[in-house]
Symmetry: C2
Subunit: 187 residues, 2 copies
Amino acid sequence: MEAAARLFREKGYTATSMRDLAQAVDLKASSLYNHISGKEGLLREICFNNAHRFHRELDQIEIREDSAEAKVRALIHLHIQVATEDITSITAFNDEWRHLTEPHLSEFIAQRKSYESRFRSIIEAGMKDGSFKVFHANIALYTIFSAIRWIYDWYQPGKSISMEQLEEEISGLLLNGLNADTTFQIL
Amino acid sequence: MEAAARLFREKGYTATSMRDLAQAVDLKASSLYNHISGKEGLLREICFNNAHRFHRELDQIEIREDSAEAKVRALIHLHIQVATEDITSITAFNDEWRHLTEPHLSEFIAQRKSYESRFRSIIEAGMKDGSFKVFHANIALYTIFSAIRWIYDWYQPGKSISMEQLEEEISGLLLNGLNADTTFQIL
DNA sequence: CCTACCGATCGGTAGG
DNA sequence: CCTACCGATCGGTAGG
C-alpha cells in the first residue's frame, strides 16, 4: 500500500499500472493478486484509512474544553503532521480519491464533507466569540486546507527548516491572518 | 483545448481518452487528428500558454515602482483572477503538467521554477523592508500559491460570495498573516 | 469528416 | 510465487 501510494502520487492513479506496482515490490503483476483484491481496492483502502484517521483525531479535538483558536491550531498541527509523515494521506486527499468508483466515491465524498463541516463549525465558533475576524468560514476553511497541500512536495525534513519552524510559521501565517484586526482594502 | 482542459481536470490526463474528448466536441476520435497533433500536444499547449501568460503578467508587475506589498497583492489578484476565469490554468498548474514527456517536462519545470524564483524575490524584498514579518520566503510563497488552488473547485460565481469579496478576504487573510507583528507561540 | 483497423498495453485470471 | 494468456481499451493511422 505504501508503494502504491507513492506511485499514485508520482504518476497518478490511472497512469500507474499493476506492472509498475509489481516491479516496485519485486514481484510479477499476477502475484500481486495473492495479496490484494485489485487496483481499486488499494486506492479504496488508502482513501478510507485516511478518512477514518482524520475523523478519529477530530473526535479528540472536538471533545476538549479548548478555545476555538486552540482547536484550529490543533487541526493545523494534525494536517501538517500527517502530511509530512504519511505518504498515503497525500494520495488520498489531494486528487486520487476522484478515481474511486461508485458507491465508494459517494461514500468518500460524504465523509469528506462531514469532516469539512465539523472543521467549519469550529471556525464558526471562533467567529462568534470574536477571535477570528473573517466573514466567510468557508474561505478560511479551504485556505487552511490548501495551505498545507504543498508541504509534502516541497519539504525535506532536516534540510534548513525544522518541522517545528515549518509548523510555527505556517500556523502563525494562517492564525494571524484569521485574527487580524485591520481589514485590508483592495486598492 | 477548452474541452480537453475540462476533461483533464475532471478525470485526469491519463484517464481522459481521445474518445472522451471526441464525444465532448461531437466528433469521432480519428477526426480530432485533423485539428491537433495528438493528446500530449494538447496538454503541452495548455501548460505552456499558461506559463507564458503568468510570466508576461509578472513582467508588468515587476516593472512597477510599487512596494513589495502592493506587488504581492497584485500577484494574488492575478492568481485568483486566472483561477476563476480560465479552466486551462487549473489543469496546467495543479497536477496535469506532470504528464508532459521530455524534453517538455524539464522545460516546463524550468519555467515554473523561474516564476517561483521571481515571485520569491518580491517576497524577500518585503522581508527586507520590514513589511513582511516572516522568516522563510519559501513558506510564504508556497502558502500563497496553495491558498488559491481550491478556488476553482469550490467557488461558484454569483452565489452568496462575490468575486470581490472572495479576493478581498483571501488577500486579507494572507497579507495580514504576512504582516502580523506578533509572533505566535506553539503551545 | 468518417469507417475500419493497427500494435501496445491495460487489469485481471487460469493453472500449476 | 510464476508463465501464459484473456478481452477491453488505448493513441493513432490508412484510405477515402
